[in-house]
């Protein structure tokens, strides 16, 4: 009766598996410690201590990931449900980095807005655990759980400002649409499982060959998962939630979502489509090419007419999702590496821009109108100059990192024969210059006569983040070869299986 399950799982294997997911473990430990500490400490101490714990956890995750990346990276762990390969490590580093930036910015922000500090940091940590699992996923089960973990943490974060109606609206919208998207993904996964009989991605990769293109189960699965993924990366025509959610959510949460969720969702697309379903390329490429083209056009055109910076950056995020999809479509080592590079660079420019805007928040609310930036360059020259750097980088001007990101994406795109998409991307990014330069216009316009609605609070933390992001946004341009090499290493595991 008992004879059925012979479990052979040695201690050595347990240690090795644990080491494979080292960065995830570090963040999880920080999360658990933070939850307990939050309950034990007196109220005044909770916020600062939890913030410190979060930073320590994230920095150690960053260090572990970097160490493992340098000293030979691993492979599948925990029965191939998760992986510690270079691709996972790249994203773990990325998420840990975003986490550090987000924790610093939100710590200052919640104090100025008079909100609780500790819980937001805990939620951020939880979202990062979800994202890391997603990037490290070796199975559709892990993919879905990571997706849900990050989504639920973010639903709550969006509604964090409980007394403000927009924040509530944002959370409700995100919850409903996010749940919808998750359902799509799950249905798609079920169909894929039905067709292949496994959820493990490496098995799917071997069982799905180009002959399986005629299998309706697979095609439906790809379609449904593609729709769900498009929701998550906020690619048109599934982007409708993005501006409302971004606008209502507290600023640091918006900033975090705009870069981290996007990166996580692209990690998921790369894992599932480029790796697991790589042989169905012609099928999902049609879908994604349409989505990419629509995202570039819709995102860039809609961004022009926005009055709120959060909404503008939301639509600009839609457009950037379109550009990044070019790299996904191109695939191959160069394409995937370009996507990784772009996601890494995008963090600094976009998060930096949000961090600048977040310095304007006070007890009265978030100053996220163009007018609130008026004369920023003279009120605070450092922020003014760096905001210009971020905008120029988003617009793709050299020598900033955004330019090189586009160069790599488009090179991969042209090499893979997506020239029409690249030309469209180029033409729509001319449109984008209009609204990015509109920000510059306000930043460099003379100081307003009337008193400004939003002056600076005590913002040492965010300014540090802005400076850091600014330095990276500029320096990663000329030094892009290094990051590209890391990206190329990260791309390798997705191709070796086939």
């Amino acid at each position: 009766m008992i004879a059925a399950a012979q479990v052979t799982y040695t201690a050595a294997q347990a240690w090795s598996d644990l080491a494979q997911i080292g960065p995830i473990v570090a963040v999880t430990v920080a999360l658990l410690v933070a939850v307990v500490v939050d309950l034990l400490l007196p109220r005044g101490l909770r916020g600062p201590v939890v913030t410190v714990i979060a930073i320590v956890g994230l920095v150690s995750a960053l260090a572990i990931a970097a160490y493992r990346l340098v000293n030979g990276y691993g492979g599948p762990a925990y029965f191939r449900f998760v992986s510690g390969d270079a691709f996972a490590l790249f994203f773990e580093m990325l998420f840990a980095l975003i986490g550090v930036l987000a924790v610093i910015v939100s710590s200052s922000y919640v104090r100025r807005r008079g909100l609780y500090e500790a819980e937001l940091q805990v939620l951020t940590l939880a979202a990062i655990v979800g994202m890391m699992s997603l990037a490290a996923a070796g199975s559709l089960v892990t993919v879905f759980l990571g997706l849900e973990l990050l989504s639920i943490a973010l639903y709550v974060s969006c509604g964090y400002n409980r007394i403000e109606l927009p924040s509530q609206e944002s959370a409700a919208k995100y919850l409903i649409i996010g749940g919808f998207a998750s359902a799509f993904v799950l249905y798609g996964m079920a169909l894929i499982y039905g067709a292949t009989g496994t959820t493990v991605l490496s098995d799917i990769a071997t069982r799905v060959t180009s002959d399986s293109a005629g299998n309706p189960l697979l095609l439906l699965g790809v379609l449904l998962m593609g729709v769900g993924f498009a929701f998550k990366v906020s690619a048109a025509p599934f982007h409708m939630w993005t501006p409302d959610v971004y606008q209502g959510a507290p600023l640091p949460v918006t900033a975090f979502m705009s870069v981290a969720t996007k990166a996580a969702a692209f990690a998921m697309i790369l894992r599932v489509f480029n790796y697991g379903l790589g042989h169905l390329g012609p099928e999902w490429q049609v879908l994604l090419a349409f989505t990419a083209a629509a995202s570039m056009v819709v995102g860039n055109l809609m961004a022009i007419v926005q009055a709120s910076l959060k909404r503008m950056l939301a639509y600009s995020g839609v457009a950037h999702a379109g550009y990044i999809l070019v790299g996904v479509l191109a695939g191959g080592r160069a394409g995937v590496a370009a996507v990784l590079f772009y996601l890494f660079g995008y963090v600094f420019m976009n998060f930096g821009a949000f961090a600048v805007v977040s310095t304007l928040s006070g007890p009265a609310g978030d100053g996220d109108l163009y007018e609130d930036l008026n004369g920023l360059a003279y009120r605070n020259p450092t922020l003014g100059v760096l905001m210009s750097v971020f905008m120029l980088s988003l617009a793709g001007f050299p020598p900033m990192v955004g330019f090189f990101g586009k160069v790599f994406l488009f090179t991969a795109g042209i090499s893979a024969g997506w020239t029409w998409l690249v030309v469209l991307a180029v033409l729509t990014s001319v449109v984008s210059v209009y609204y990015y330069f509109r920000v510059l216009f306000h930043v460099w316009s003379p100081l307003p006569e009337a008193p400004v609605r939003f002056a600076f609070g005590p913002v040492r933390g965010p300014v540090t983040v802005v400076l850091l992001a600014g330095v990276f946004a500029v320096a990663l341009g000329p030094l892009s070869g290094f990051l590209l090499q890391v990206g190329l290493n990260g791309a390798a595991p997705l191709l070796s299986g086939r």
Partner: protein
């Protein structure tokens, strides 16, 4: 050595931005003069008998894509570098000490000069593109934050969007060269050695030509130019009109022709551009005739003159292309001088309207004399510089097609009409009615010594290049590797 040519103004510009007003001006002048000295040393030690890039510097930059940091000078770029440094120095000197936010202005001017120097120096296609885009950022800020007129923001944005449409299309072209050339590199000589098939060249040519044609500008892509020139402040205008337009023509010679020597598929691009150039020559000249505003007149005449350069380039023979290069230098000397004179007249009379300005010569004889020389140079009087270039250009165009050359002559015929009418009207027409009712507060005094010193180098160059064009022409055959398509 060559790295210093772009790093010096870049670093200098960044430092100048943060200096106080007085120190900033002194610092900027020192940097600009040092830059000029540096380029002159390069030009003086340039070996005209040596083929290939000189003072070349090469280092791997983004190894995965074979991008290298590759700089070099050859006969094509050496004198343009000097022109850039010279006009840059004059522009800095022409900025008054009392200029609003002078530190930032001077700093950005130096940054722009640095970007253009980089364009002239790059031997790597991606590096070329980086500098090409980088020079646009300071130009935008200069045009917008210090622009004159009603809507400097509009002019600046129009300028940027026009240029960007072109240059982003060029980005596709740049990447296309990498992908489609079997060399798989961004190095210009290597790319020129292995051009893609004519059908691919046809597409790539269009992408590159779009960027360069906007920058020059070639008709019908010129509509940003009048707006931008009208609202540009004079010191910046010197750089914008004097040098930036030349980067487009330079790009045609350095990149467009060598990499796409045979762009033929549905039609032959090499025939399209000279026709557009000739239309531009006539169009610019006719519109210049119709202008009342002095600055607008010079702006449109500039379109006409740039047409000659493009015509020369696409004559695809030695005379035409040598003429084009000479004409690039000439135009870079004459147009800044014209804009300086217009600015001075405006400062003295408060007007740029051709119908209001009359009989200025008696009050300001020296200015009248200087204006006369510049006018003569602009309309191509033999003995002054422009004659040489236009003559060579038309000679080249004649070999391509006599019809084009004849049509191009329309520009030569119209130029004396609008230029002489301008000069005569403003300087020598008798004042009707009671003598001289200057408006309140208008100062009618002659040129100051500083102003004369500012324009003197330009005047001298007009004579030198007019009488001894060999000075620049002798360097031309010393072309870099992969430039064999220019039969110099």
């Amino acid at each position: 050595m060559l790295s210093a040519i772009w790093i010096l103004p870049a670093l200098g510009g960044l430092i100048v931005c943060f200096l106080p007003r007085g120190a900033a001006r002194v610092g900027a002048i020192l940097v600009a003069l040092a830059e000029l000295a540096l380029t002159l040393v390069v030009a003086a030690t340039f070996d005209a008998s040596h083929h290939g890039y000189q003072y070349a510097e090469q280092a791997s930059w983004i190894a995965q894509f074979n991008v290298s940091y590759h700089l070099g000078v050859d006969g094509l770029s050496v004198w343009l570098l000097v022109l850039n440094a010279l006009i840059g120095a004059l522009a800095v000197l022409a900025t008054p000490a009392a200029w609003p936010r002078a530190s930032a202005f001077l700093g950005l001017m130096l940054l722009m000069e640095s970007g253009m120097a980089g364009v002239f120096l790059s031997v790597d296609l991606l590096l070329f593109y980086v500098f090409w885009e980088a020079m646009l950022i300071p130009a935008y800020f200069l045009l917008w934050l210090w622009g004159e007129g009603e809507r400097p923001n509009y002019a600046a944005l129009k300028f940027v969007l026009f240029t960007l449409v072109g240059s982003l299309l060029m980005l596709v072209g740049v990447l296309g060269e990498y992908v489609f050339s079997s060399a798989h590199t961004f190095d210009l000589p290597a790319l020129a050695a292995q051009p893609p098939s004519p059908a691919i060249q046809f597409g790539l040519f269009a992408l590159f030509a779009a960027a360069f044609a906007v920058k020059i500008p070639v008709w019908p892509l010129h509509s940003w130019l009048p707006d931008a020139y009208m609202s540009a402040p004079t010191p910046f205008l010197l750089l914008l009109a004097g040098v930036m337009g030349k980067t487009g023509a330079y790009g045609m010679l350095r990149v467009l022709l060598p990499l796409n020597p045979h762009p033929v598929n549905w039609w032959d691009w090499n025939w399209v551009l000279p026709v557009l150039a000739v239309i531009g020559i006539a169009w610019g000249a006719l519109l210049a005739l119709a202008q009342r505003d002095l600055k607008a007149l010079v702006a449109y005449s500039s379109i006409s003159h740039m047409g000659f350069i493009v015509l020369g380039i696409f004559a695809l023979n030695a005379q035409g292309q040598e003429g084009a290069l000479v004409q690039m230098l000439n135009h870079g000397i004459i147009v800044p001088a014209l804009f300086l004179i217009v600015a001075w007249i405006y400062a003295r009379t408060g007007s740029r309207d051709r119908s209001v300005l009359t009989g200025l010569a008696p009050a300001m004889p020296v200015l009248a004399g200087v204006f006369l020389v510049v006018t003569m140079a602009a309309l191509g009087l033999p003995g002054l510089n422009s004659f040489v270039g236009e003559f060579m250009t038309l000679l080249g165009a004649w070999q391509l097609s006599p019809w084009l050359a004849v049509a191009g002559c329309i520009g030569l015929i119209l130029a004396p009409i609008y230029m002489l009418r301008l000069f005569q009207g403003a300087m020598y027409t008798e004042v009707a009615g009671p003598p001289d009712h200057p408006a309140e507060g208008v100062v009618r005094k002659d040129m100051a010594r500083g102003e004369l010193a500012l324009i003197a180098p330009l005047l001298a160059l007009m004579f030198v290049l007019g009488l001894y064009p060999y000075l620049v022409v002798h360097a031309l055959p010393a072309l870099g590797q992969g430039m064999q398509v220019l039969h110099w």
